[in-house]
């Protein structure tokens, strides 16, 4: 998608460090990424720990569990996500990648700790990176989010 900003200036950048693996946080993250992609941002996602674990090849088309700390409300939310056929966070992320400039990088440290190989990860992941490369790529980002 062409940038929707001023075509003479470079695309604004957005950085997202994604470390959480619960449905409501991942949906928040993928929705945020969609908005940025729609406005022509160059979005860089660095997936670590549970955020990376949520990108395993298996289970790609179901919602991950909701954060359980809200008792019955957590169960109701899980039920609603299923009953209302809310798109999964990965579906939303896939759409954002198709429409805009969104890259997903896997944290190399988390890969080691979680015992993951590249083949274990969803094709949404572009590359395995160290944190220094993430910091370098997102230099000058207008916004950096941690989810």
């Amino acid at each position: 998608m062409r940038s929707v900003g001023d075509s003479s200036s470079p695309s604004p950048k957005m950085a997202l460090l994604l470390a959480s693996g619960t449905a409501e946080r991942l949906l928040t993250a993928s929705t945020l990424v969609s908005g940025a992609a729609a406005l022509g941002y160059e979005v860089t996602i660095f997936a670590s720990y549970w955020g990376l674990d949520a990108l395993r090849t298996s289970g790609s088309e179901v919602h991950p569990p909701v954060e359980p700390g809200h008792g019955e409300a957590s169960q109701r939310l899980e039920q609603t996500l299923r009953d209302r056929k809310v798109p999964t966070w990965r579906t939303i992320l896939r759409t954002a990648k198709a429409l805009g400039n969104v890259k997903v990088f896997a944290c190399s440290q988390s890969m080691e700790v979680l015992g993951l190989r590249r083949a274990d990860l969803d094709p949404l992941v572009d590359e395995v990176l160290g944190i220094t490369s993430f910091v370098d790529r997102t230099r000058g980002a207008e916004a950096t989010y941690f989810v």
């Binding site: 998608m1 929707v4 929705t31 969609s34 908005g35 729609a38 406005l39 022509g40 939303i92 759409t95």
Partner: protein, 90 residues
């Protein structure tokens, strides 16, 4: 989901191609993403009509259309859903 629909065939000037994007029931960011996808597939001059029941669309769709440089021809707010008519300009 998006369906191409036939242009109205009433007399007068030729009508631009018209495409309906029925995003009712889709939550943010679904309706805007469906609009962007439809815009990408159509030629300049085409009109895309989006139906959305997402309240966020009331701000997000006009914002995106303005920033992307297309025309927001018409907005009709309804009690159940809203109707946005967008013309692709480039």
């Amino acid at each position: 989901m998006t369906d191409p629909v036939a242009s109205p065939s009433a007399g007068g000037a030729p009508q631009p191609p018209h495409r309906l994007v029925d995003a009712r029931g889709a939550w943010c960011p679904g309706p805007l993403m469906e609009l962007i996808g439809a815009i990408q597939q159509e030629d300049a001059g085409a009109e895309i009509e989006v139906l959305s029941s997402d309240q966020g669309s009331r701000q997000d769709i006009p914002l995106w259309v303005r920033k992307a440089g297309h025309d927001l021809v018409k907005v009709e707010e309804g009690s159940e859903f809203d109707r946005y008519l967008v013309r692709k300009t480039h």
